[in-house]
Symmetry: C2
Subunit: 142 residues, 2 copies
């Protein structure tokens, strides 16, 4: 499942954007929707990878059995999305570059799996090195 | 400033959507962007009033001096947005219908003002009475 999110992150990289991707799956492993950060591409600060995947998945009465897979630990904005809509499980590629709200999510009953993926870390690490000002803007760091 | 958000909520009501509106202002009171919940209109679960206003305001290096005015206390998703991007002040029309993440935001250094507006409460209350299933979907309640 991480490969789907990582492919999205690579699409973002190819477009010159922040290379973070995400995908939402149902309990059977079927893909509901996927997407990537579009800050640079669409000049849109509201589209993080997780919100793009959530939007692509569309409206549902319940997200309890869904799994959000993302190449990077979700920020507060995306952690809030997970908590508000009751997404049951979050799988992150890595949480070393950015730890986001993982502890908070665990404390609030979300199952969190950290795959410690070097591929995710290296992809984003290269972008941060090249465009630190865009990365800081993306996480609200002045 | 609440009138701008309330006008957005009324637009949402006229469109048959969840009547919650929001507006982002700078420190001088100039409007940066506004919007309303678009779950029903766009069939988009990711557009809450606050995320619509944030998107309309566009990319900024800092949100420290901005003020998010919303007709209803922000849910976890939108509270996470406020925290991640460092929006300094949140003004809510009311927090009786839904308390959202107000306490959490206060604890994390955000200035929160609650206007206890009957107009906001009544507008949303009428919608919840008419379309409880859409309201529940909007806040992730099964």
């Amino acid at each position: 499942m991480l490969e789907v999110a990582l492919d999205e992150a690579r699409k973002g990289q190819a477009e010159g954007g922040v290379p973070i991707g995400a995908a939402l799956f149902d309990a059977t492993g079927a893909l509901l929707g996927c997407g990537h950060n579009r800050r640079v591409q669409d000049d849109d600060p509201a589209i993080h990878a997780e919100t793009a995947a959530f939007r692509a998945a569309g409206r549902r009465a319940s997200y309890r059995d869904t799994i959000m897979v993302t190449t990077l630990a979700p920020c507060w904005y995306c952690s809030g999305l997970v908590r508000q809509f009751g997404i049951g499980t979050v799988v992150v590629g890595e949480s070393e570059t950015f730890k986001g709200g993982l502890t908070w999510l665990r404390r609030n009953g979300v199952k969190v799996v950290d795959l410690k993926s070097a591929a995710c870390r290296e992809l984003l690490g290269a972008f941060i090195k090249a465009r630190p000002e865009v990365w800081n803007e993306d996480i609200g760091v002045e």
